[in-house]
């Protein structure tokens, strides 16, 4: 126990040392303050933007909420459609054989490459960004679901056939539980993609959110606000990832021997 506490303290110490290096480098002017603000300035920008002291404008708070809701909504849509489509494709070996090569072809396509296409079809609006977020984040879940269904133990499929289980029951009782670890891993990846595409979408479609905020801050050479935005985006990534990995552990507890 004592050793673990020591490690934890050491770990905090390393992080503190990194921040101290940042502080020295920016305060002493080793790196131009045009792009490296001091930690205090970043904190001040954060406090003002989030309205922590009561005197700020709270702008960053609303941007953060906008980005987070875009990310979450896109992710939920992506997970829903990914699992539905994945189950529909995965449940039948025939469909799988015909469709899967196409899916594998689309998979490496960068999600943000769909933005220009979506802009020309839907125009510059929040729904367009949401569509691209959901579409881009859908692939990991979809492919993971298909894979999970493909990897069902053949004997289980035989049992289902012997019991004359209807297809819906097979999906619900055998397919989905079997695909669950794959789906959850895919959902984690898709959360990361959601955040990235949401930020890129805000940048190029000028939708209000952290992506637009940091781009404008950089164009106006307001480095402390830029860093405040980056810190917030890092926090969003960290929190969503941590929550998902906790959820994953809880949901997969039944798999542990």
């Amino acid at each position: 126990m004592n050793e673990r506490l020591g490690d934890w303290l050491g770990s905090v110490g390393v992080l503190a040392a990194l921040v101290a290096m940042w502080w020295v480098a920016s305060s002493a002017g080793w790196v131009s303050r045009v792009f490296l603000p001091t930690p205090q300035a970043t904190l001040a920008s954060l406090a003002e933007g989030l309205n922590l002291g009561g005197g700020g404008n709270g702008e960053l708070l609303s941007f953060t909420l906008a980005t987070v809701s875009r990310m979450l909504l896109g992710w939920l849509l992506a997970s829903l459609f990914g699992v539905l489509l994945g189950a529909a494709i995965g449940v039948s070996p025939g469909v799988r054989a015909w469709v899967q090569p196409t899916l594998e072809f689309i998979r490496p396509l960068p999600a943000s490459a769909l933005l220009p296409l979506a802009i020309s079809i839907f125009g510059l609006n929040p729904a367009m960004v949401l569509f691209v977020v959901a579409f881009g984040a859908m692939w990991p879940v979809l492919l993971a679901t298909v894979h999970g269904f493909a990897a069902v133990e053949p004997r289980l499929s035989e049992v289902a056939r012997c019991l004359q289980m209807p297809r819906a029951a097979f999906v619900w009782k055998i397919g989905l539980p079997n695909a669950m670890p794959d789906i959850l891993a895919g959902m984690r990846l898709s959360m990361t993609i959601s955040l990235i595409v949401a930020v890129v979408g805000e940048m190029i479609a000028s939708q209000s959110g952290l992506g637009q905020a940091i781009l404008l801050a950089a164009r106006a050479f307001r480095a402390s606000e830029l860093f405040a935005g980056i810190v917030l985006l890092g926090l969003i990534g960290f929190t969503s990832n941590a929550l998902l990995s906790i959820a994953e552990k809880k949901l997969l507890r039944w798999q542990q021997p």
Partner: protein, 273 residues
């Protein structure tokens, strides 16, 4: 980009493939996309006849792509994106692999740096686009920096876990032989992790390509992503669709090649694929 390491196994189940034989099985992967493209072609032709500026039929996209190939802009933009992605990946990989080996060999160092890594890693790489713009301006350097940042983390994590799984007896042997830390890294650890190194490299290539195109779409006025943005902004849906298909095709070919390379290495080094 804070990619998580998800190894989605790509292959369709072999028994499904073996059942149909001959040329039919070879054609089957192409049937579904061709039906889709055909439907889209018909739809887009009708839309274009009604004066749509958003949709172009795939045949027009192919024609636009051929024009771009003839005037050289296709190769120039592709070369820029691939070159930048490759150099950025090289930077990220060199840093990630060396730090990964160091942290993999010393449990203590790994524990001490855990918090810092967990705090820095989730920062989405695209969040650094404005910062890189401010530091380097537009051009190769900003894209390099972001690709290197994005590929650094998965390389670091994968290499670290690969090194931690090196047979402990090998390390004991190296200690008995009195090898120095550097000799241990070069003679024992590196050869032992080569197969996993290539798994990490394959993931790194995929990340580098995606990030490079994303940076070009969001900010950097160079390369394939920018060419596509420009086609959209100048209301040239055929060229834009052509670029989309080209980016997808290039990505697919490179990823497939990396997968083959990784499997070949794994076979030669005698590890499970």
């Amino acid at each position: 980009m804070t990619e998580h390491v998800v190894v989605v196994r790509a292959a369709a189940p072999p028994e499904a493939r073996r059942r149909t034989h001959g040329w039919l099985a070879l054609l089957r992967p192409w049937a579904f996309p061709f039906v889709l493209l055909g439907l889209y072609e018909a739809y887009a032709r009708r839309a274009a006849a009604l004066g749509s500026e958003a949709l172009a039929p795939p045949s027009a996209a192919l024609k636009a792509l051929a024009t771009a190939a003839a005037d050289g802009s296709l190769w120039q933009a592709t070369g820029f994106t691939l070159g930048t992605a490759a150099i950025g990946l090289l930077l990220g990989a060199v840093l990630g692999v060396s730090l990964g080996i160091a942290l993999g060999l010393s449990r203590r160092a790994a524990r001490l740096s855990l918090l810092s890594i967990e705090v820095l890693r989730p920062v989405p790489s695209v969040a650094l686009i404005p910062l890189a713009m401010l530091m380097f301006g537009f051009g190769v350097r900003m894209e390099l920096a972001i690709v290197a940042f994005a590929t650094f983390w998965p390389m670091l994590i994968l290499v670290q876990s690969a090194v931690q799984q090196v047979e402990p007896r090998l390390l004991e042997v190296s200690r008995v032989l009195g090898l120095s830390a550097r000799q241990r890294a070069w003679k024992i650890v590196l050869p032992a992790v080569v197969p996993r190194l290539f798994v990490a490299l394959r993931l790194g290539v995929a990340v580098a390509l995606v990030v490079a195109v994303t940076v070009e779409i969001a900010a950097n006025p160079n390369g394939m992503g920018y060419a596509m943005m420009i086609a959209q902004q100048s209301f040239d849906p055929a060229l834009m669709l052509g670029w989309l298909g080209w980016i997808g095709g290039v990505g697919f070919v490179i990823n497939a090649a990396m997968l083959r390379l990784q499997r070949a290495v794994a076979r030669r080094m005698g590890a499970a694929p």
